[in-house]
Amino acid sequence: MRCRTARRMAAELVERPATELPASPLAQHLSSCTRCALFVEELRRSWEALADFPEIEPSADFVPRFRSRTMLPGRFAGYAQPLGWHWMALACSLAVVVLCTLSLRRITPPAVVASGFTVRDAADDHFLNDLDDSLARLDADFPVFDSWPNSLLDPGSQESPPSP
């Protein structure tokens, strides 16, 4: 048996008294390998030393304090503690959901009508058509007369450049 395997197996056995070590390949290995035997002995002693952990007595007001926490009226019994991270997490989650909903509504693509235009394009088109019609009616009702000579187009009205 390899030392590593023996140590792994022996580590579980240190919880039992030394006399209860079963006769097995492990016992044979420990009787022949002094280093493993020392390791197991150290492990056993440290396991036994753990029994020295000092015990404590709960304070005298432990039970009365607990009773006072459970005697609170109605549905709030047992909840007499400051708002912890659970509430903060819940509030943050709600805020994230609200923000996501708002931003999704803003980036939703506009609806498309049968002609291929979006609703907004169709409305703009309708408005521009109405505007064209109105301007055409205005032009028909009030013909425009240009009484001012167009000096740029009439060469006779242009001044000659100054002679050097």
Binding site: L43, S46, A51, F53, I56, E57, P58, R69
Partner: protein
């Protein structure tokens, strides 16, 4: 617990009387702070009190309590580990003061015992939280590997690994203390 489920408030008083001391001690071994251990124990019993209607007797009642206590104390230990809010120095100092206050030459045995206890306490405190919980449940509460796995919500193989590593760590630290005088 079944009696408490049927409306017998006195049954809960019995549970409280029977288990509050072991649970305070169990959590104290994990969080290493008396005040915090008592507060967390109050939380454990509040959870039991609130779980009256949901309780189903599938396993031993003690296993169920230790499962709740394990969850509560592991959370606290991990939180303390993340935030590095250990305050062992004041508690250690007070313990040393307590130990040496009544020093008399014939109190040598008491001193040795207190020193051993302090070494063990420090060794347990230095273990990673999961190893610590597994070792405490096995060594002090006497739970089986299966019950520990149930309490820690992991497999028995994982529990064996935690306990094995924990034993090796404790052995190393105690040996180190014996040789060098420090953990």
């Amino acid at each position: 617990m079944m009696a408490f489920q049927n409306g017998d408030e006195g049954a809960f008083e019995q549970i409280l009387d029977k288990y509050h001391r072991p649970i305070v001690n169990f959590i104290y071994k994990i969080v290493n702070n008396r005040g915090e251990a008592e507060e967390l124990t109050q939380d454990v019993f509040l959870r039991i009190y609130r779980a009256k209607d949901r309780y189903e007797p599938r396993a031993r009642f003690a296993s169920w309590i230790y499962r709740i206590a394990t969850n509560v104390s592991l959370k606290a230990a991990n939180r303390a580990r993340r935030l590095r809010i250990w305050s062992p120095s004041t508690e250690e100092q007070s313990l040393v003061r307590e130990t040496f206050r009544d020093y008399r030459p014939n109190a040598e045995t008491q001193m040795v015992q207190a020193e051993c206890g302090e070494v063990v306490r420090r060794a347990i405190r230095r273990l990673p939280p999961k190893e610590r919980v597994a070792i405490v449940l096995r060594r002090y509460e006497g739970l089986s590997y299966k019950e520990i796995a149930d309490a820690m919500s992991c497999t028995e193989a994982a529990v064996k690994t935690y306990i094995h590593r924990g034993k090796l760590h404790v052995r190393d630290w105690i040996l180190n203390y014996v040789k060098k005088g420090t953990l």
